[in-house]
């Protein structure tokens, strides 16, 4: 039996509700987990050096790391 317009609307609405429930605004004072050292992109200098080398070699891209912090909303 083909889906009716009503059932299709209900399915879309349900999907929207489920997707929206996965969203969360993280406020500056709620960033404890994000401020963890493991969240820092530059925590492994050797790994970062290799990644930079790869990007420069393959894509002639370099730098662009001017943003500091681990997303903790601090300084």
């Amino acid at each position: 039996m083909p889906p009716t317009r009503k059932s299709l609307s209900a399915a879309v609405l349900l999907a929207g509700v489920l997707l929206a429930s996965g969203c969360k605004n993280v406020e500056p004072w709620q960033k404890r987990t994000l401020s963890d050292a493991t969240m820092r992109g530059d925590r492994d200098p050797a790994g970062q050096g290799l990644a930079d080398h790869m990007w420069f070699s393959r894509e002639a891209a370099n730098g662009g790391r001017g943003v500091g912090g681990g997303g903790c909303g601090c300084n």
């Binding site: 969203c23 605004n25 406020e27 500056p28 004072w29 709620q30």
Partner: protein
């Protein structure tokens, strides 16, 4: 417009517009903060939102303690508002970073959602008439200390 007057409906929580200079500071007693609030009526009030996981907050503590010791007897009240989810984490931090100014914990995040500090730490300076003088996110060492001293002395002059 009052701090709570410009409330907007976020998808998941009713939140107020960020407090700014010129707004009246809401009554802190209504936020259900854990800990004892000092008397603030007619005093220069400094609210400092901090958390144990925030590195600049840790750097700010010796400066805040010095401000409290120097200006506390002159009518300045500093209140540290911890945003730690776990009280144990706050206690552990305070054990390692001893201060004598009052610390309360915003466990229910009511104060934070009312004032909406834009970063950690954020300091609010409040004039003796209860109006917010200025809002200062970030702590950047000596330059921030000098800014704070200037504001405190300016506001204390109003008490005389």
């Amino acid at each position: 417009m009052g701090v709570l007057g410009a409330a907007t409906l976020s998808p998941f929580r009713l939140s107020a517009a960020a407090a700014k200079a010129g707004d009246k500071l809401p009554d802190l007693a209504k936020f259900g903060l854990e800990g004892t609030l000092p008397a603030t009526a007619g005093k220069v009030v400094h609210l400092d939102f901090w958390a144990s996981w925030c590195v600049p907050c840790k750097e700010s503590f010796p400066v805040l303690e010095a401000l409290h010791k120097e200006y506390g007897p002159k009518g300045y009240v500093l209140i540290g508002i911890s945003m730690d989810e776990e009280k144990a984490e706050m206690d552990r931090f305070l054990k390692q970073n001893k201060v004598t100014f009052p610390i309360v914990r915003d466990a229910k995040e009511k104060a934070a959602f009312s004032l909406r500090p834009p970063g950690m730490p954020t300091s609010y300076f409040v004039a003796p008439d209860g109006v917010i003088h200025s809002v200062h996110p970030k702590f950047e060492g000596e330059s921030t200390r000098k800014t704070y001293v200037g504001i405190i002395e300016e506001l204390l002059a109003k008490l005389k």
